[in-house]
Structure formats: C-alpha cells, structure tokens
Symmetry: C2
Subunit: 214 residues, 2 copies
DNA sequence: TGACGTACTATTATCGATAATCGATTCCGG
DNA sequence: CCGGAATCGATTATCGATAATAGTACGTCA
C-alpha cells in the first residue's frame, strides 16, 4: 500500500492518518505503535513519527511509557459513554446559556437541518452525517465558550460522530428516527424554552451513543 | 541559571517545565518558543524540545505554524473564565450524579478539609493549596467519569489552581473566606441534597476565579 | 527616490546514526 | 532439571548535521 506522504509537514499528515486509524478501529486499543515500522511505511525518518505520536499523546489518544513504547489508548465502550456524557454537558450548557438563540444562530442551525433532510431524502448518508455533525458543533459554538469548542474539536467528534452515525445508518431503523428527532429539537430551540430542548437533545445523544453498545 | 536536566526522559521534564512557565506567566501569550534556544538552555538537542512542544500542542497550550515556529497560546482572562466554567460544570456534574456520596468519598473529602484547616491555622499556604486542589480533584473523581478526570488533569488545574490561590492568598482577605466556604460546602455535601451544594460550589469557584480579574 | 527582486539570516523540518534500555533467550554451575 | 547471570535482538531516546523555508536587509535600476 502506498501511504507515502510527500507534500508538506509530514508530521501533520502522519498525525491525521494515525488519528483516523485509531478512531476507526484500524489500530485496536493496546496496539503498540512502533516508530521505525511507521517510519518505513510513511517513507520518513523516526523524528516526524515521534512528533506525531507526542501530539497524540497530548490529546490522550495514546499513552507512552519510557523505553516501552507508545500504545493506543482505546476508545472502549466505557470511554465512549463518558465522552458522550461530556458532549451532552457541553451542548446542554450552550442551550441553557444562550437560549433563546439570535436569528443568525437559528439560521445556521436551520441550514444544517435542511441539509440533513435533503441528504436523507436522497439516501445520501455521508452528506447527512456532515450536516448532522455541523449542527451539533454549531450548537456548542452558540454557547459562546471558545474553550468548549476547542474541547469539542480535540475530542475528534468529526471522526467519532461519523463512525457512530455510519453504524446507526446500517442498523434496523437507520437514520430516519434521527431526522425526526432533530426536527423536534429544532422546533423546541426556536420556541426558546430551555428545558424541552435539553430533554430532546438528551434523547438524541442517547440514541446516537447506542451505536457503541453491543 | 542552571536549568539543565539530567535524570530521565528529558522530554517529560522539559514539557513540565514549559507547562509551568506558560501557566505562571513566565512565557507570556504570543511568545515564540525557539527550539535551539531552549535546547541550549536545557543542554539537549533539538529533538526532545520539539517533542515536548508537540505534546503541548496536543493539549492546546501552544500552537505552531509550519516553518513559523511555536507560540504560546495565552491563558488570557477570557480563556481563564471559560476554563473555570468548564471546571464548574464538571464538579457540578459530579455532585448531581453521585450525591449522596459513599462514606469513602466523604472520608477523602473530609481528610482534605482537615488538611486545609490545619495548614491554614499554621499559616502555611502552600500545603493549604495542595489540600484544596486535592479536594476539588477528588470531587471530580467522585463523579465516576474517568474522562472528566483526565480532562481535569489535562487542563493543568494543579498549576492553574495553585497560581490562583497564591494570588488570592496575597490579597486583602486572604484564604480565610475560602476555608469557611469549603466548610459549608462539606456540610452540604454530607447533607446529601445537590442543589445547596451546587450553589455553594459555584460561589467558591466564582471567588477563586476572581484572582484573574484585574 | 522608490519599487522590486535577491542574497542573507534566523528558524524550523527532517535525516541518519548512536546510545540507552527492555524483554526474552541462552548458557552454565549446581 | 533448575535458578540466575550474561547475552542478544528489538525498540525507544537522543544526538549532530543537513535541507527547506520565511522574514529581512540591501542593492539595483528606473
């Protein structure tokens, strides 16, 4: 396989590849990431590999022990549930802090909603997923706390959420219930009362997080 | 100044020193961290410096741009307030999720409380700070969400909190009000009703976060 | 004089090699 | 056959040097 990367800043590209492989399960939890093997695969020397690993270590995706290597710190079902708890907290916080939303925010959310519905109607699950992730990220953004937004990004919800939604899409009911649930959420956000919106949001995230239950 | 580090795993020690310097203001926001200068200071080559910087990049303490260096991403007062908001959220979550606490948790918290009181009575502010930070970290731990605990650690509350408390200790009322407030919080935690405990916790964090207001 | 391009300098990105360490295996005396 | 010391292979940690790049200072030409 040609995974050699050429253009710019090897360590960034390598880091992104490693993140994707860890989150999509290519690298299972506990796997040791051997620097020289990776270096050979990417056609680079050890240094950029190590730097990419150190960055992943900073985000908590891997752990390393001195002279004993770097290992994937798995996203097991426990950690996944905990992450959803954190995500739920952030999105609830945004609602409680900023509802009623200004027109601009509602417009952004509505655009995502429309995109979701259209993609779903066409049966295109990937664009649906893009819109859905954008919807929830926009919600966090609406809370006005930049640290929360950075945290959202550093937890790689763009990848994790995609994996979850793909699983749900392949299951019995597929994405149809989610579309309806988001529509309800959108209406409640527009209505402006926090409690019903929070309840609906909680239900949505509960549904999505079930993608990681056996 | 002899900042040369000798014993084990240079990159870890370097990383810790850099974290401390960033959080205590030695390295102001926006400062470019030059690799070769740091390498000379620590008597190491460029590689471990870079790895330490990459780890800091992962935690969000610095940012780097290709061929343009690594710069301190400042902890300005806005970010500080946002961080306290996040911390408050995590501690509230622990209370709402786990109150009433089991005897073991209450014992741990009480031990911290006792340590705080004794240190304060002796006028030793540093041990007081240790106990206070341990108290709040234990609170997060009591919530039972390991991801929250990791997040707490990755935000470096051990350093940030110390800085805040040192500032407060040097101000007018000093630490006395905090001791009393924690005693009240402890009583309310023991009582087992979430709402009053949350209110008191909010008041405490509000007080502490004022250390960063001008 | 002033806009423009070009060499220079400071700094980062990457390399290839060496030192340090760990884990397993082998070898040996009992 | 067994316990432990010595050794070997694999892997990580660090080094010193080189390549690549951005910003700057300067000189040239109109």
């Amino acid at each position: 396989m040609d995974t050699a990367l050429k253009r710019v800043c090897m360590r960034d590209r390598i880091r992104d590849v490693l993140i994707a492989r860890i989150l999509d399960g290519t690298y299972p939890a506990g796997l040791q990431l051997k620097e020289l093997s990776l270096a050979r695969e990417f056609n680079v020397s050890q240094a950029p590999i190590r730097e990419a690993l150190r960055e992943l270590e900073g985000t908590g995706l891997v752990t390393s022990e001195r002279y004993r290597g770097t290992r994937v710190r798995g996203a097991d079902s426990v950690e996944m549930r905990e992450s959803y708890e954190l995500r739920l907290m952030m999105e609830i916080h945004a609602i409680e802090r900023s509802l009623p939303f200004p027109a601009e925010t509602l417009g952004k959310l509505q655009a995502c909603m429309t995109g979701m519905k259209e993609s779903f109607a066409r049966g295109d699950s990937e664009p649906y997923i893009d819109w859905a992730l954008d919807f929830h990220r926009s919600l966090v953004e609406a809370g006005g706390n930049g640290t929360f937004l950075k945290l959202w990004d550093s937890l790689h919800w763009d990848v994790r959420g995609r994996i979850a939604l793909r699983r749900l899409a392949a299951r019995g009911a597929g994405l149809a219930p989610l579309v309806a649930m988001h529509e309800t959420l959108m209406n409640r956000l527009r209505a402006g009362a926090p409690a019903p919106a929070v309840a609906q949001l909680t239900a949505i995230l509960q549904t999505v997080s079930q993608a990681f239950e056996p």
